[in-house]
Amino acid sequence: MADLGDIRSLRGARGLAAALACGLALAWSSPAAADVVDDAYVAGNQAARAGDWRAAVAHYREAEGLLPGRSAALSFNLGTAYAQLGELGPATFHLRRALQQASEPSAEIAESARRNLGIVRQRMEVAADTSGAQVDRPETWWDLLLAAVKAPLFGWLALGAGWLGLAAHLVRRRLGGGAATGTRSLVGVLAVIFLALGALHGMALRAERLSPEAIVLPATADAREAPGAHRKSAFALQGGSRVRIVERVPGWSRVRLAGGLEGWLPADDLGELQRRRHSAQASLKAAPAIP
């Protein structure tokens, strides 16, 4: 019994030591990672000032790999550095990531990112015209509407209208008589808001979940009629084009352009915009090792 007690006390001590070590590691890791991220970011800025865009991309990518969350400034700088290098696919991808709500872009960064996206778009169209590759159509008011409807604000509005309408309905029943006449119209309006906004927001969320948006990363990519490099090429896609992934098999994704044109691309040739951490190999290949 005494031995068993010793073993238990020894285990307890070990567990305590391990917990302390974990705690210390967690306590120290965050500031250390933060310093390294800042160092890589500043090194990228210095390389960019010197005109060495290739090195700047490598430093920014290092910072992106170390950063646990998102940064609009980092995505913007990375996209702009790729644009300077003429790599339109990764440039579009990162500039669009900079504009996403999860990156929390400031008004200045959002304006700059939109400007640079416009320039990259111009270059894409010129390159597509030269190579004969397909490029996605420019964004229309409908795209903007869909993007707005997808925002959480619309979700809150629909949800609030629904519950408020329910509360108003209960109040109307409780009050009864003449007081109910006013609340009846209010319930009707809230029900319409609930149904209309809820349907739009739900459809936008469903579309994002079933067919997420992605950017073509290489300069041009051959979309094939079926998954497999030996399959016939259906058409070429310009790098930077916005597509939707409608089907996946291991290593390949079936993509659809806004006009309905469909083909299969290697999964590595696509950068998914909603993915929490970008790991497309194609753009990793483009980034050189840091000297």
Binding site: A81, A102, L166, R209
Partner: protein, 604 residues
């Protein structure tokens, strides 16, 4: 710990023993299988053929008694005996039988060779097979009798467009070229035809002529015609026509084609040698490509001659002529001053005739980067003309494009002095990328994900109407089950009575609060029976109302007596009653409550 180690050791030893036993069994079975008996059979499908007719040689090798490795047969040197050999095609057959508890298996492989004799004679074909160190012979040696005359040997190099000079049986192949000597990269036209005296319906090209060291382009087929060869009429059936472009100098050979006539007969053509001369070194431009042989013209054009800075336009360079147009090298494109040029889109419109050629178009997208009169310099193209045996250099005319600095300004005149440095215009500003975010520390997103995740939103949206429906359903149920106002009041009264009775029952033993509860019970009974008129009346008046309501005098007397007893007990006169007396009082009150004229209509 020791027991565990011992157990592991035993498992290891038993595993090792098992593996060894398995290996031995496998080895023994493999040895047993290798001991099968190998046999060979050989036969010809027919023993007599004519020169040029194919005959099948069928060889079957079998291993009886197990084993699946059947050795390949060894044929005599058939090529030395003038045979052309094709194949073999093989088929594989296994058979396993189980007789009296013992299994036996056999494997048979059948090889079919197609032999085409080229000379007459009697040929013995001994076939053998080797199994380990033993050589096994076929028990019967096939013997083939070949009749007819030996196939004539063709001259290697016929004259250009030479027709056959002698009749060669009922069907033969003939290949021609349009010139025996030519330069590297110059077009040579090759034609293969079949001469036939009768209509052979099933002539198939079995083997293409060999065009090694030639670039080959298909040409339209020739037409069926009739010819007389050495007094014999033939029908000349077109085979194939090719434009050939020799890729190196020297003596190049086009190897003969072969066709099958019917199922059994094969006929071959004659090889053709071509003398290919190297391109002359004299006068050859620097960096000249040997693919630029023929006769060409060149032109250049732009789709717009007046544009703005940054506005793209298309520059097209066209090279047109005869020669191997698919592989011509246009050479280095000249530098464009003040303009950015992208890689060209290349298009080819080929001619359709017997001479290969066409128009090759290079379309460049050009973006002017500064204002002014910008000149596209001439592009030079060199080729070798085999007709004149000379090198020619042709060039496009220079093109001037007027580039305006913005949308409103007129294009700058050609005579205006060229600015020393390009001044950025509004369009240029538009094309400048926004500067990087250059800070000391990287601003990060807070990382706080929105509380409203799609899942929460969905359930929140579903829950609102669901809660409304549930509330509505509950209200409906309540209304349906609760009934009218009278029954609701009855239910309420019953609940109150039950509560008072329960309290009175509880106070039976001690007597504390017993009488007030019973008095309340009886009072409530009286008021309830009297209806709205009985509310708030003193006892005497209440009893009068009850009498008016039809309550019997006897029940009224019992009620009065019970109430009096309760009053007496409450105010001291009857305080000494026992529990039994209290029980009797309660029973009386209950009787009055349930089975008297006072209770009439209360329990409906």
């Amino acid at each position: 710990m020791t027991a565990l180690a011992e157990h592991s050791r035993r498992r290891f030893v038993s595993g090792l023993a098992g593996a060894s036993a398995f290996t031995l069994v496998c080895a023994a079975s493999g040895r047993a299988r290798a001991d099968g008996v190998v046999s060979i059979q050989a036969q010809l499908r027919t023993n007599t053929v004519s020169v040029g007719d194919a005959v099948d040689l069928i060889v079957e090798v079998a291993r009886e008694g197990g084993g699946d490795d059947v050795p390949s047969p060894t044929l005599p040197d058939l090529l030395a005996q003038g045979f052309a050999v094709e194949g073999p095609s093989t088929s594989f057959r296994t058979q396993t039988s189980w007789i009296n508890g013992r299994s036996s298996s056999s494997v048979r492989v059948t090889y079919v060779y197609y032999l085409i004799p080229s000379k007459p004679g009697r040929f013995e074909l001994p076939i053998t097979v080797k199994d380990g160190g033993r050589t096994i012979r076929a028990p019967r040696v096939p013997v083939l009798e070949v009749t007819g005359e030996a196939a004539p040997t063709e001259p290697a190099t016929p004259a250009a467009n030479a027709a056959p000079t002698e009749a060669r049986g009922d069907v033969f192949l003939w290949g021609t070229i349009d010139k025996p000597t030519l330069y590297v990269g110059e077009q040579l036209t090759y034609e293969l035809v079949v001469y036939e005296r009768l209509r052979f319906p099933n002539i198939q090209l079995r083997e293409l002529p060999g065009f090694t060291d030639f670039w080959s382009e298909e040409l339209p087929e020739g037409r069926l015609r009739n010819e007389v060869v050495a007094g014999v009429g033939y029908r000349v059936q077109p085979g194939l026509r090719r434009a050939l472009f020799p890729q190196r100098a020297g003596t190049l050979t086009i190897t003969p084609a072969q066709v099958s006539v019917g199922l059994r007969r094969r006929i071959g053509g004659q090889p053709i040698e071509v003398q290919v001369l190297p391109l002359p070194a004299e006068g050859q431009p620097a960096g000249f490509s040997a693919n630029n042989v023929g006769e060409f013209r060149i032109a250049a054009k732009v789709d717009r001659s007046k544009v703005k800075v940054g506005e793209p336009f298309t520059l097209s360079v066209l090279i047109k002529g005869t020669g191997n147009i698919r592989v011509i090298d246009p050479g280095d494109w000249p530098e464009l001053d003040g303009m950015r040029r992208y890689d060209p889109k290349v298009d080819l419109q080929a001619f359709g005739g017997d001479v290969v050629g066409g128009t090759r178009t290079y379309e460049f997208l050009v973006i002017p980067e500064r204002a002014g009169a910008l000149t596209i310099p001439p592009h030079r193209f060199s080729y070798f003309d085999p007709e004149s045996v000379s090198y020619e250099t042709i060039e496009t005319a220079p093109i001037t494009v007027q580039v305006a600095d913005d949308g409103g300004a007129a294009p700058a005149a050609e005579t205006e002095p060229k600015p020393s440095a390009p001044t950025p215009s509004a369009d240029d500003d538009d094309l400048l990328l926004a500067p990087l975010v250059d800070l000391e520390a990287l601003p990060r997103a807070s990382g706080e994900a929105s509380w409203l995740t799609p899942t929460r939103w969905f359930w929140g949206m579903v829950a609102a109407p669901a809660a409304g429906a549930l509330i509505g359903l509950a209200g409906a149920l309540r209304r349906r089950l609760a009934g009218d106002a009278a029954s609701q009041a009855r239910a309420s009264r019953r609940a109150e009575e039950r509560g008072r009775l329960a309290e009175a029952e509880a106070a039976l033993a001690s007597g504390d609060g017993f009488y007030p509860k019973v008095a309340q019970l009886l009072q409530a009974l009286a008021v309830d029976r009297a209806g709205p008129e009985g509310q708030g009346l003193p006892r005497r008046a209440l009893l009068r109302v009850l009498r008016d309501r039809g309550v019997s005098e006897e029940d009224l007397a019992r009620l009065r007596a019970l109430l009096d007893r309760c009053d007496a007990a409450r105010f001291g006169a009857g305080a000494g009653e026992s529990a039994d007396e209290r029980r009797r009082l309660l029973d009386e009150a209950l009787d009055l409550l349930r089975a008297s004229s006072l209770a009439k209509g209360r329990w409906d």
